[in-house]
């Protein structure tokens, strides 16, 4: 906030903030002003000139001028109008108004609305087509003829998404938007985030799914379309009647196009959007300025990856195993059968012979209900969720040190930090929209970036300092850096004295972590570690984000703890722009645990062993609940092998492919007496089931998700459930009632009400506080106050003080002489996880049809193989084959295997049973293999139209200065002066 000053607009006095531009004040006061290129999320671009106003007697762009004390602004004088009209004339020279037959005419076309608002009737300069072809990409198309060169798309690509693909080539005879150095969309570095399409003010960039679909008259053959456009122009007496018709038609569209707010079903960033549907068809997905986590941003999956919704492979009826095939059954039969078998097994072998797995893709309400089902209806604590696969160690590390198992602040804090450290996180591909925020701060606002990762991926390439540790040794360099900081006296003494316990004990434990010892173990030079310490010391605000590169190790919990220790030592908690951020993978990984699907906690991490708490739940649920900790999902599989677990109910989780050591897990499935799987598809896991229950995805139900920031957001139902599939919560409810319990929730709101009443952390969470794009970040007090930033007052322990947690480094994973390659693995941008949802989207399937094995040039040379070579990877757990992609992101004998694929290269054939010693999270990242060459070269596994083949074209932004330098450019404001 700057100084408050007074200015005059059209003879009226207004208060304004010195940091505002004239247009911001005008819009804030709800006054009318044309503006085509200005967008609240992008700031001033200054390309369109339509916002001309008179400032102290001279014509200026309102978007490019800051307010000053005593400024006199006129928005309505004839001079101003003339300048605005001239600017608009130039725009319409580049844009044909055929609104009635345009798919963008949905009441929100900014050109249409501006022309209308200006009361403009005729245009003086005729429309002129440009000499370029339409570019039809897989997901969106560019129509040069309609492009007004406002540059919003460029600005968003260069400074918000920061993928740096788009620019306007201002020096061309006819300027246009270009991809990279002027290649077709699909051969460029474009990552299909769709943000350029979202911000385009007109129909120059459109989602393919909108074309020919949105309007009543837009689905017409090109020839007829052309003649209709001519018609429109011929019979026109002016724009007025044209608008009368097209506005009416736009209104009619509203009648059949439904707009529903939803939350992304993929990663933990938790983007929210409006989804536009016509019948069951998804026309487009549009992030909005008010989307709390993402604003106008999205990634390829959230924007375009919805093919799973209407996929023909969706299950539409319950399936019951009969001999060697499944038989479709009706719900009555399936539910009765499941209920009967659950009861029989529980009666015979005790309730602990059943196990339940909640889905991190399902809603909070559904997580709550499934754990209630396990505890109340069945009477067991054998309930867990997939955060075990990735996130439990991070939570553990935070429980040990600061008390809450969630991100310390919001993504705004990460964006505003002086220094961001990413450890074991390929953020640009796994959490794209968050990565964009970091890239933006780094590119525009001088934020520093340190990346520690095996791969020098995009974030590593952008980093100020890139660190390559030996696999699994992060704990060591982190501790060594911490020790060095203390040795230099750079630790935050006041913070440690007043807010933290255990300093001396911790300090003693650090003695073994000298720089020398660390260099030896991690392979990171002393200088690099010192540089890291210096950078932390020089920054006032540091955030550390980490992900599965840290957690999926045998010492994942300890490494997470080391990160939190480092932050405590440097006082980086509880202030804006600081904190620890475990980046949650799935959309609702956070919520699935928060709402109680864990073997030792009720909702809100209330211990089942605490008698008072247990009593509260027992009273509310009217049953006795066992106080012993249940089995986590790793132990459940073990228990099946041992014979003590007889039945399992797995929901929305393809354990048979995502769990480590696939063959061990699938062998367990075969041993189960009774196996129920609930999913959208007949997944690998479901194929072992006795009963498969068809569930509905996010767009077909209501509920809430909690993103990585602890932000609870509502999703609304956009479509009815497909066929006879049902939302998970309805299935749980029906099953509970079948087993004699009287669950009478009429909607997820009722479930949330119950959960909130029993959980202090969610005391104030209510649906009416979450309407539309509203959100709440837990803990939420009864009166609705939420907590975007944790630990501002105190840490989440009895005495309010954080704890430094001493660690030692005992374990060292290494490749061996026989198994000499390290098989690192993880996600890629386009697919979600193993891809069982994203493969249903045609464009994604085309861009990334299969997985591959990334290998360094060095290793390939040594093996004498080339791009496309076929290899077999093998170890004691199993084997897999794949094709080689040579990449400079990996080094030496470190391979990278993307997780996406449903075929043979599933990396989990190679993972074994080793787990994090504290949480049982599989050590997916500790895989040593031996490599056998099957074929020396072949076709590249990467299609030609994959963004990894493109060449980014970084620019500061639109560079409007280049436009102003053109011979044929004159600022309309000056022209008006000249004439007048």
């Amino acid at each position: 906030m700057g100084k408050q000053i007074e200015i005059m607009i059209d003879g009226q006095q207004y208060m304004a903030d010195e940091e505002q531009t004239v247009i911001q004040v005008i819009l804030e006061k709800n006054l009318d002003i044309p503006h085509i290129c200005y967008h609240e999320g992008l700031g001033a671009i200054e390309t369109c000139d339509t916002c001309a106003v008179s400032i102290n007697g001279e014509i200026h762009r309102a978007c490019g001028t800051y307010v000053r004390e005593g400024m006199n602004v006129l928005t309505n004088s004839s001079e101003v109008k003339e300048a605005q009209f001239k600017a608009m004339d130039t725009i319409l020279e580049h844009h044909e108004l055929y609104c009635t037959v345009c798919d963008n005419n949905n009441g929100d076309c900014e050109i249409h609305n501006t022309v209308r608002m200006m009361g403009m009737e005729h245009q003086l300069k005729p429309f002129e087509p440009k000499p370029y072809e339409t570019d039809n990409g897989f997901f969106y198309r560019y129509e040069p003829d309609q492009c007004i060169l406002c540059g919003r798309c460029v600005e968003v690509c260069q400074t918000v998404e920061v993928n740096e693909t788009l620019s306007i080539d201002w020096e061309l005879d006819q300027p246009r938007v270009i991809w990279d150095d002027n290649v077709p969309i699909d051969q460029s570095s474009c990552v299909s985030c769709g943000q350029c399409v979202t911000v385009c003010p007109c129909n120059a960039l459109m989602e393919n799914t909108m074309l020919g679909e949105a309007g009543y008259l837009t689905d017409i053959k090109p020839g007829i379309l052309r003649s209709m456009i001519e018609t429109t122009k011929n019979v026109e007496t002016g724009f007025g009647p044209l608008f009368a018709v097209s506005d009416s038609e736009a209104k009619m569209r509203q009648d059949r196009i439904k707009k529903t707010k939803t939350v992304c079903t993929y990663c933990g960033v938790g983007c929210s959007f409006n989804v536009f549907t016509k019948g069951r068809e998804i026309l487009k997905v549009e992030p909005e300025l008010e989307s709390p986590a993402n604003g106008i941003s999205s990634c390829i999956k959230g924007k375009f990856g919805w093919g799973h919704i209407n996929s023909e492979e969706r299950l539409t009826r319950p399936l019951i195993r009969e001999g060697d095939s499944f038989r479709e059954a009706d719900w009555d039969e399936a539910l009765t059968y499941v209920a009967r078998r659950f009861k029989e097994i529980a009666d015979q072998n005790g309730p602990d012979s059943l196990g339940f797995i909640a889905s991190s893709k399902a809603t909070n309400e559904e997580s709550y209900l499934l754990q209630k089902f396990a505890r109340q209806v069945i009477g067991t604590n054998n309930i867990d969720n997939c955060s075990r696969y990735c996130q439990a160690p991070a939570t553990k590390g935070l429980f040990r040190t600061v008390g809450y198992g969630g991100d310390a602040g919001s993504m705004e804090d990460i964006a505003s930090a002086d220094l961001v450290i990413l450890v074991g996180s390929n953020t640009a591909e796994s959490h794209p929209v968050l990565a964009s925020k970091i890239k933006r701060s780094h590119k525009l606002f001088g934020q520093k970036l340190i990346v520690a990762d095996l791969r020098k991926h995009e974030m590593g390439q952008r980093a100020d300092l890139y660190i390559h540790p030996e696999p699994g040794t992060d704990l060591v360099w982190l501790s060594a850096v911490t020790k060095y900081i203390i040795d230099q006296g750079w630790h935050d003494q006041e913070f440690l004295e007043t807010k933290v316990n255990g300093f001396h004990e911790y300090l003693a434990s650090l003695s073994e972590f000298t720089l020398e010892a660390a260099e030896e173990v991690t392979g990171i030079s002393k200088e690099t570690m010192i540089k890291t310490a210096e950078m932390i010391h020089e920054s006032k605000k540091t955030c550390i984000c980490w992900a599965m590169g840290v957690t999926q190790h045998q010492i994942g919990s300890d490494t997470s703890t080391a990160i939190s220790n480092l932050l405590l030592i440097t006082g980086n908690y509880g202030k804006p722009g600081t904190g620890g951020y475990p980046l949650r993978g799935h959309n609702n990984v956070q919520g699935a645990s928060d709402f109680g699907s864990m073997p030792s906690y009720f909702a809100g991490y209330q211990k089942i062993s605490d008698q008072e708490i247990a009593a509260k739940f027992e009273e509310a649920w009217g049953t006795k609940i066992p106080t012993e900790k249940g089995l986590d999902n790793h132990k459940m599989v073990e228990a099946i092998h041992k014979g003590s677990l007889k039945a399992m109910y797995v929901t929305g989780e393809d354990m048979g492919i995502v769990d480590s050591h696939i063959s061990y897990v699938t062998k367990a499935f075969k041993k189960l007496e009774f196996f129920v799987v609930q999913d959208m598809f007949l997944t690998d896991t479901a194929q072992y089931a006795d009963v498969v229950l068809p569930a509905s995805p996010s767009l077909e139900k209501e509920g809430t998700f909690t993103n990585t920031e602890r932000r609870i957001q509502r999703l609304y139902q956009a479509l009815p459930p497909l066929g006879e599939s049902k939302p998970d919560w309805e299935i749980y409810k029906a099953l509970a009632n079948e087993l004699g319990f009287n669950w009478d929730y009429s909607s997820p709101a009722d479930i949330m009400e119950e959960a909130a009443s029993l959980t202090p952390m969610f005391a104030g969470v209510r649906y009416d506080r979450l309407e539309g794009f509203e959100s709440l970040m837990w803990p939420v007090a009864e009166d609705g106050r939420d907590t975007p930033l944790l630990y501002t007052e105190e840490f989440h322990f009895e005495d309010g003080k954080a704890k430094l947690y001493p660690l030692e480094y005992t374990h060292h994973y290494q490749t061996t002489e026989e198994y000499d390659f390290h098989a690192n693995n993880g996600r890629i941008l386009e697919h979600f996880h193993e891809g069982n949802m994203t493969y249903h989207t045609e464009g994604i399937e085309k861009k990334v049809p299969n997985s591959w094995i990334e290998m360094s040039k060095e290793a390939a040379d040594e093996l004498r193989i080339e791009e496309g070579a076929k290899v077999r990877l093998k170890n004691k757990a199993g084997e897999t084959t794949g094709r080689i992609h040579i990449s400079d992101e990996v080094t030496g004998k470190e391979l990278y295997l993307p997780l996406n694929d449903n075929g043979k290269s599933a990396v989990n054939y190679l993972t074994n049973n080793t787990v994090d010693k504290d949480t049982d999270t599989p050590a997916y990242k500790e895989v040593a293999v031996k490599l056998e060459v099957l074929k020396e070269k072949g076709d590249s596994p990467l299609p030609l139209f994959n963004y990894r083949r493109g060449h980014r074209n970084p620019q500061p932004g639109v560079e409007v200065g280049r436009k102003w330098q053109r011979e044929d450019y004159a600022f309309p404001g000056n022209e008006v002066k000249k004439n007048g």
Partner: protein, 161 residues
């Protein structure tokens, strides 16, 4: 011991049942939208009385062709019979508040200063309420063709003045 299986025996649903279900769905929709349906029926009987229903029917069946023809006709710039007929039809039905439309076009000319007046409310034109009632996209589309002709209508009116 349960092995992996992938084959699914689909549920056989008797034709009669499907018919029943479909019928029920239609009845439900009718019941849920009673007022709208009655409006629609009134609208159509009106069309029928004026002998225009057959024309609309034909238009539904040949919409692509008609659309092309209409455009072609329009493009000949002479306001041909089609436009005139449509104009008459719409005027006859008395459902269009055309004055609103031409006011809009007359008032807001480039030459004049923009006055501080609100635009005439085009949305209130009676036909659009009826549009809402017409959920069938095919019918809707044809009505849209009529709407498109409005532009011609606007011109007609202008000419008369």
């Amino acid at each position: 011991m349960a092995d992996k299986i992938t084959s699914i025996k689909r549920m056989e649903i008797p034709k009669e049942k499907i018919r029943q279900d479909n019928l029920q769905e239609v009845l439900d929709a009718l019941a849920d939208n009673k007022d709208a349906m009655l409006e629609t029926i009134r609208f159509f009987s009106l069309l029928h009385k004026e002998g225009n229903l057959a024309m609309i029917n034909a238009m539904v069946a040949y919409q692509e062709t008609i659309m092309g023809n209409v455009s072609y006709e329009f493009n000949r710039a002479e306001n041909g019979t089609i436009i005139k007929n449509l104009f008459l039809l719409l005027d006859l039905l008395g459902m269009l508040n055309l004055s609103g439309v031409d006011q809009l076009s007359n008032r807001l000319t480039r030459q004049r200063m923009v006055e501080d007046k609100t635009y005439p409310d085009v949305e209130k034109v009676g036909i659009f309420d009826l549009m809402k009632a017409l959920k069938d996209p095919e019918v809707n589309r044809v009505i849209s063709i009529l709407l498109l002709s409005l532009k011609g209508v606007g011109k007609n009116k202008d000419d008369k003045k």
